[in-house]
Amino acid sequence: MAGIIDIVYAEYNYWIYVTLMMIGFYAMIAKKNLIKKVIGANIFQTAIFLFYISLSDIKGGTEPILLHGETSTHAADIIYTNPVPHVLILTAIVVSVSTTALALALIIRIYEEYGSIEEDVILAARRKLNPEFSEYARQSEVDSQ
């Protein structure tokens, strides 16, 4: 039992990121509201950011900004955390902002067109507007051929 607790404690950052990521994943696939899906996608992305940033952490290390002489310790004694994941995540945050903006703009257009952001309402309206697009019609067409 103590061994299991030690294993969980040594890598608790992975447990946190997996939990967060699965919350976002569930919101993306189970919610019908499009805004809630976007929020789920954002939680998912944030989990990945946290995972990368936690990978870069070193026990007792400072942030990767060089210190010059203000401290009495020698320069060789200062441990800097890994700067490379920080840079990768800066790029990922930019991509995340872009995709969120585009998703929200698309949702605004969908709302203007259908008057709802609920997935099942939109699909029902779409089936009524042009029945040839519905999955049932397509399937029966395939069967009749």
Binding site: Y14, F25, Y26, K59, L66, H68, V97, R109
Partner: protein
């Protein structure tokens, strides 16, 4: 439907945690990513090669400059798409 989603989510989470057992412990200075000579090279030479004390800035704007250029292209494309989607249409 919700139960199926929950099942998929729990299965994926269990797989991720199983895969995570091989990763280095939190805050481990012996982790391969930190001990790799490229990381050590950046920490030692970032200031002499780019003149910036912030290593993240040196990496982002100097070593990975083309990547940052591509990043601005991503933002530009997203901004243009949002403008095109939200523009008032003349009937």
């Amino acid at each position: 439907m919700k139960l199926a989603a929950l099942f998929v989510v729990i299965l994926t989470g269990a797989m991720l945690i199983y895969a995570g057992q091989d990763l280095p412990a939190f805050g481990d200075s012996e982790s391969p990513a930190y001990q790799h000579r490229m990381t050590q090279y950046f920490i030692e030479n970032a200031e002499s090669e780019s003149g910036v004390t912030n290593i993240v800035t040196a990496l982002l704007a100097n070593y990975r400059g083309y990547d940052t250029l591509g990043e601005t292209a991503v933002i530009f494309t997203a901004g243009m798409s949002v403008l095109m989607l939200l523009r008032r249409r003349e009937l």
